[in-house]
Symmetry: C2
DNA sequence: CGCCGAACTGGCAGTCACTGCCAAACCACT
DNA sequence: AGTGGTTTGGCAGTGACTGCCAGTTCGGCG
């Protein structure tokens, strides 16, 4: 009796449904404990206990303690890449990348959760490291896309494409740091634009001899 | 821990001399094993055994497995900051930062060792993460220095300073990646200049033949 | 020269994230 | 029910890292 007729998005079997439910529970418990007592001070054993699963199962759901933070971190890279490749060919690199950033930013449930997660990310050394590492992989994935848009051969050794991508992430970094420092005041993309202007734009604010 | 001021430069007590000798041994053994069999495949126990010290002592010398890679990684940040603050006030931010990068680059024993270390760094996920994390701390340390040079209040929430610093590191990153991909061919600073030019468009006085 | 206090070293046990293995529980389909 | 494939939980083990407690070594002092 597989009642498959329902909406395409719903999970197929009951098994997967419980699975999803349990994983959501774990995720919520983890985020709660992390914010309550800090990331490093929270052990896997505690999360497993409070979420009602065994440690072993928890590790089967999420391979890593870091993965307990944001389940959609991997989607970040995917959305980014998709949004960029959807841009028309005439659109410049910087604009295309900006569009990608906007799209990826829309993944957050809301500014509340985003700020909470950002703060955790910025305050915990190990989390920061993990995030940066993941980001580096996204950058590598973006490389062919950007190269194509810059009229560079894919096998080219030109560092320009890498530089552009890295700079975009750098500005996003600077923007989000400032955003967190300001307790989430203002729009993140405005800060991003400001950062990019400071780096490439007309030397108004930056004293350039 | 207590640095006696005896003869400036010469090793103070015999104790510290043996200490230095031993730590150099450990460092060499570690780098050798890392390059021979990979970072993750090398255990602390093995390094300690082959270097002739106990694990406990090894951890007292270097607090972390990562610290066994480049003993002078911490000096990187120091040298960078020093070189920047030594620049004349009229020197622009970008130039000052470039000078810092040049100074920091001189820390490497030679292009051979540098390439070896870079390759290890780029190929090992955990090392990459750690390095990025450390770099982020350097960036934070540089913030007041750069803000001052950009005529920004130290307490200002302007993201421009952060953006500039992050971009410099991003370009250094892109340059070193390309450098490694090219097996160390060419000059790293040339690549850096190329990266910065690609990002900022206007080639300022940074190109120095 | 011998001794004492201070710093260093080594070993042991323990914590924590994470993995492999195996038996028990589970759900789906017949 | 029964069977087969999947999932789960517990257990032991690995590897980085820390605290603790002796044992050793160095430096200076009488």
């Amino acid at each position: 009796m597989k009642q498959e007729g329902r909406a395409a998005g719903t999970p197929a079997t009951l098994w997967d449904r419980t699975r999803l439910l349990a994983s959501r529970d774990v995720l919520e418990t983890a985020l709660r404990l992390f914010t309550e007592q800090g990331y490093d001070e929270t052990t896997i054993a505690q999360i497993a206990r409070e979420a009602g699963v065994s440690q072993r199962t928890l590790f089967r759901y999420f391979g890593t303690k870091e993965d307990l933070l944001g389940g959609n971190q991997d989607r970040f890279g995917q959305v980014l890449a998709d949004a960029i490749s959807e841009q028309h060919a005439e659109v410049g690199v910087w604009e295309a990348l900006r569009a990608g950033v906007v799209a990826a930013q829309a993944l957050h449930d809301g500014p509340e959760q985003a700020l909470k997660r950002f703060r955790l990310l910025h305050d915990t050394a190990t989390l920061r490291a993990g995030w940066l590492e993941k980001r580096l992989r996204f950058q590598e994935d973006l490389l062919p896309l950007v190269k194509a848009r810059m009229d560079l051969a894919v096998g080219s050794t030109d560092p320009a494409a890498r530089a552009v991508i890295a700079t975009v992430f750098a500005c996003l970094d600077a923007a989000s740091m400032t955003w967190v420092d300001n307790d989430g005041k203002g729009d993140l993309m405005d800060l991003y634009d400001e950062c990019l202007a400071a780096v490439r734009g007309c030397p108004t604010a930056t004293s350039q001899p």
